[in-house]
């Protein structure tokens, strides 16, 4: 009997071993190691041992203008992509929400960008924004020279537009699902009560959507902080670091400059920020879910 229990326990652990082993090796160990790496500065010449810096590396990197600049650019990027992306997704969802003939075709088209990967979308826009042959460059009168992606003011917005386009399908699907959750009867009641279509959207639909909007918003912020592919393909962080986000800087520091210590510090900082955002989302959502879920 006791032997049976041992066998069962052993089976359990055995089945779990692959997954937990992989998590341990590739997720949790790296997390700890990265924090630890942050304490060490890499030498200028490879081959020399790393120098222990303790918390001073953390404080110096986190207060550096490089990091703060990255942070600022990341915030700008998120500010540009997230609200606009959601608003467009919502507008498209509202537009496609009526039972008109052939609406399925339009809904499929609107969701289609979900099939594009970051890399593909970036290459598409890279070509369209090419200074010599790009169609968008031509339309915007920016032919020749460095083009949009080489412009100090317009590079980041261009990357943002690519990101918005890339996420349109996903946001559209999410917002459509959210719209479905608003009962038709409420909108009928609003119509009979005398509300115009605009009034009934802002006073009935929108408030009822707000929990979902908030959720999508936080997801948007978190994924905005983790944007990488499009920056790498479109601008490589340039021109003059004007599209370098925190994440991109981490990659540059680790792989290009071999400065894993600095990269590690920034990685931990990013991790903490994301953790705070997620926690915030949970707190706010708990309160809203309480009201929305009970209200029927």
């Amino acid at each position: 009997m006791w032997l049976r229990k041992v066998r069962e326990t052993a089976t359990g652990y055995l089945f779990l071993f692959p997954a937990i082993g992989l998590f341990g090796l590739f997720v949790f160990y790296p997390l700890v190691k990265t924090a630890y790496l942050g304490f060490y500065a890499q030498p200028v010449f490879p081959g020399l041992p790393a120098k222990y810096m303790g918390f001073s590396q953390y404080s110096s990197v986190l207060s550096s203008s490089e990091f703060l600049g990255d942070l600022w650019r990341t915030v700008l990027f998120v500010l540009f992509t997230m609200p606009l992306g959601i608003a467009l997704g919502l507008a498209m969802a509202v537009l496609a929400h009526k039972k008109l003939a052939g609406i399925r075709v339009f809904r499929t088209i609107f969701s289609s960008t979900i099939a594009t990967s970051v890399a593909v979308a970036s290459v598409i826009f890279f070509t369209l924004l090419d200074p010599q042959v790009g169609l968008f460059s031509y339309w915007l009168g920016q032919t020749g020279g460095t083009g949009i992606l080489g412009s100090l003011t317009w590079a980041l917005p261009a990357v943002a537009v690519t990101t918005i386009w890339l996420n349109l399908g996903f946001t559209f699907i999410l917002m459509s699902a959210a719209l479905q959750s608003v009962p038709d009867e409420l909108l009928e009641a609003a119509a009979v009560d005398g509300a115009s279509p605009t009034a009934s959207f802002w006073r009935v639909t929108f408030p009822l959507l707000s929990p979902q909007l908030f959720f999508v918003g936080v997801i948007g912020i978190i994924s905005g902080f983790q944007a990488f592919g499009q920056i790498d393909i479109l601008t490589q962080g340039g021109p003059e670091n004007h599209t370098t986000t925190v994440l991109y800087d981490i990659y540059e520091n680790v792989f290009d400059y071999n400065n894993s210590g600095k990269g590690a510090v920034m990685a931990i900082a990013l991790f903490v920020i994301l953790l705070v955002l997620t926690a915030l989302q949970f707190l706010v959502l708990q309160r809203r879910v309480f009201y929305a879920g009970a209200g029927r």
């Binding site: 997954a19 088209i109 609107f110 031509y138 386009w165 983790q226």
Partner: protein
């Protein structure tokens, strides 16, 4: 959204007489909506369309000013060139190998773990499940540096294992499988404890098929993208 606009069937077939007078104002609104729908659809599709167009141009045509909006003489050969000189076939093959390997591996590890969580009794079960879920919370930037070092240490740089091994377990996979296992009725569970693998194989097969379908779409896009890149490169 009040009524299903079934009466508009008359509008689209051109049979205006069958549409009641009351619907005239709504008809105007429907037309307006269609216009907006078409405009937005065009905007969404435009980048993809232009990419396809570019992939079918010759190099001098790409440099044309103003840039062409449709291919005057579609260069289908660009696509075959992409496969021969451009190694598109190799890239596609690599993507396929990577996707399939990861999918298979994830299903295997997740099913094993989910099975253990659902049917097997052992201590610290809840803690270990929490660990699996927690793995979803750790973002990529925190793991890349040491992972790069780990992979270098194994000698796997620039090879398939580097693309596959770190991703072979998934917290979401474990969570989802566990959910569906828990929904099996009690007797099936007991039978499963005796049978063991029978049910696992069934569920695994189903999921692989479903995951496989989702890999199709990205490939088409890559095909288009590579074709266009081919076209562009031959111009330089």
């Amino acid at each position: 959204m009040p009524a299903p606009d079934a009466e508009f069937a008359g509008v689209l077939s051109g049979d205006w007489a069958s549409v009641p007078v009351a619907a005239h104002r709504s008809r105007l609104r429907a037309v307006l909506r269609y216009v907006l729908l078409v405009v937005v659809a065009l905007v969404v599709l435009f980048p993809i369309y232009m990419t396809i167009v570019t992939s079918l141009l010759t190099s001098p045509q790409i440099a044309h000013r103003p840039p062409l909006l449709y291919p005057p003489s579609p260069q289908w050969s660009n696509y075959s060139t992409a496969f021969t000189t451009g190694d598109l076939g190799v890239y596609l093959r690599n993507s396929a190998i990577q996707s399939v390997s990861i999918t298979v591996a994830v299903v295997l590890t997740s099913v094993l773990a989910a099975y253990a969580f659902t049917f097997v009794r052992f201590p610290f079960k809840r803690v270990l499940f929490a660990v699996c879920l927690a793995s979803l919370m750790v973002p990529a930037e925190v793991t890349i540096i040491p992972n790069y070092q780990t992979i270098a240490a194994f000698g796997w740089l620039n090879s398939f294992p580097a693309l596959i091994v770190p991703f072979m377990a998934s917290g979401i996979g474990i969570f989802l499988f566990r959910q569906s296992f828990r929904q099996l009725p009690g007797e099936l569970r007991d039978a499963a404890r005796l049978d063991g693998l029978g049910h696992l194989q069934l569920t695994a097969a189903k999921l692989v098929r479903r995951m496989g379908a989702s890999q199709q779409a990205p490939w088409t896009e890559e095909l288009i993208q590579r074709g266009q890149a081919r076209g562009q490169r031959s111009g330089l």
